[in-house]
């Protein structure tokens, strides 16, 4: 009985640890728009290290995006299509 309880307790503790770090990594990963599959596995297998890796990946990816940032240009819209005719 003691063995069974220890077995359950140890697996429960490890599962909470793994799922906890996975959850934290997913939260940080979604903040940086990282793929969910990658972030979940990084957090689950690497624990606290995965959390740090996710932050670093997020920073690296957001730096990459800076090169592709688009600029919004205000286009001139003529509200009166026949306005020119009456000038």
């Amino acid at each position: 009985m003691a063995g069974l309880l220890t077995y359950i307790a140890i697996f429960a503790m490890t599962s909470i640890w793994i799922l906890g770090w996975m959850g934290l990594s997913v939260v940080i990963g979604s903040f940086f728009d990282l793929p969910l599959k990658t972030v979940s596995l990084v957090g689950a297998t690497l624990g606290p290290l995965g959390f740090m890796v996710t932050i670093m990946l997020g920073i690296l990816e957001s730096r990459k995006e800076e090169f592709y940032e688009t600029e919004t240009v205000k286009a001139k819209v003529d509200d009166d299509p026949f306005g020119d005719l009456f000038k």
Partner: protein, 336 residues
């Protein structure tokens, strides 16, 4: 990596060897208690109730991973990695909780032993289990986007390798004896390990985080990762160096570094591990500072994926073979 119809797939031997190393680590010492009578007791996962069942469960998960890995390589490796990660974290959490607690509150009873009359430290099993499970986890993670775009496939960065080797040596030496104290009057002998000193539990945590970060820097070879690893490693290396210097200097420092005082120690002898730590920590601290220089960050060893471009021998398989032989040899030696 093997190429099948333009899709690169990781080789299977190295992940299997690493998973076996993790399982082997579970039957190596996780916790070592050194009593002041000169005795040493080792405890591993199989010593606790239900421990064997845990190892059997993890082995079963790994076997499922191997079978799945034959058909779906990455899925199989992920199953293996999740299984051994559970074992790796069990080792890390149990060892660190115990040493952290004891390094701050030494008067705790563990396994019927009054730890005020003994020292407690992590065993070699924790090193094997944690390092192997982290390596396997990184092997899986590096196959996924966007990590894949940062992971080099044909070269290895030199700086992480140069720092990883001495830092693992420090981590191992932290768990072994630094000092041997003897008292003729009380007829006792104390073996003081590096992680048995006050507050060293936190230092050991930092050391392990550094090891993990450098394994990460091998996989994600970018200046940001290297600089974070360098910063933490420098901090940890300086603290370890201070510990080693204080112990080496001996004398009055022992009064507050050694938690339990029995009688007056009449003989003090220093173990070779203390000198390994002194030299390695100094080297690591120096290399961590140099690691901030971009030119040094860019040093790399070009390998390719195969030992010879025309041969069918893969570097991954060679490394896997070496790990496999080491695991089998240690298992056989243990049986003999």
């Amino acid at each position: 990596m093997s190429t099948t119809a333009g899709v690169t797939q990781p080789r299977l031997l190295l992940p299997i060897a690493l998973a076996l190393a993790v399982i082997r680590g579970s039957s190596m010492p996780w916790v070592t208690i050194r009593t002041f009578s000169g005795n040493q007791r080792n405890y591993d996962l199989t010593d606790i109730k239900g421990g064997v069942a845990i190892v059997v469960t993890i082995t079963f998960v790994v076997m499922i991973g191997v079978i799945v890995g034959v058909f779906k390589r990455l899925t199989g490796m992920t199953i293996m990695s999740l299984g051994v990660a559970a074992l790796g974290w069990m080792a890390a959490i149990s060892g660190m909780l115990l040493t952290l607690l004891w390094s701050l509150i030494p008067s705790v009873n563990v396994a019927g032993l009054d730890l005020a009359r003994a020292t407690l430290s992590q065993g070699s099993g924790v090193v094997v289990t944690v390092v192997s499970s982290l390596a396997l986890a990184f092997m899986v993670v590096r196959q996924l986007e966007p990590v894949r775009s940062y992971a080099p496939s044909t070269h290895i960065a030199a700086l992480p390798i140069i720092i990883l080797l001495p830092i693992i040596a420090i981590a191992v030496s932290m768990h072994s004896e630094w000092l041997r104290l003897g008292s003729d009057d009380a007829n006792v002998q104390a073996l003081i390990a590096g992680d048995a000193l006050y507050g060293s539990g936190l230092v050991v945590l930092g050391l392990w985080l550094s090891v993990g970060l450098w394994i990460g820097a091998l996989m994600i070879n970018r200046p940001l990762v290297i600089m974070v690893a360098c910063g933490l490693t420098f901090l940890v290396a300086v603290i370890v160096e201070m510990y080693a210097l204080l112990v080496w200097a001996g004398g009055n420092a022992l009064d507050w570094l050694v938690p339990a005082k029995l009688e007056r120690w009449t003989t003090v002898s220093m173990e070779p591990q203390l000198f390994i730590v002194l030299i390695a920590a100094g080297f690591v601290a120096l290399m961590s500072i140099l690691g901030f220089v971009p030119k040094i960050q860019r040093f790399q060893i070009n390998l390719g994926t195969r030992v010879k471009s025309t041969s069918g021998l893969w570097y991954s398989d060679v490394l896997g073979g070496v790990v496999f032989v080491l695991v089998v040899a240690s298992f056989v030696l243990d049986l003999v």
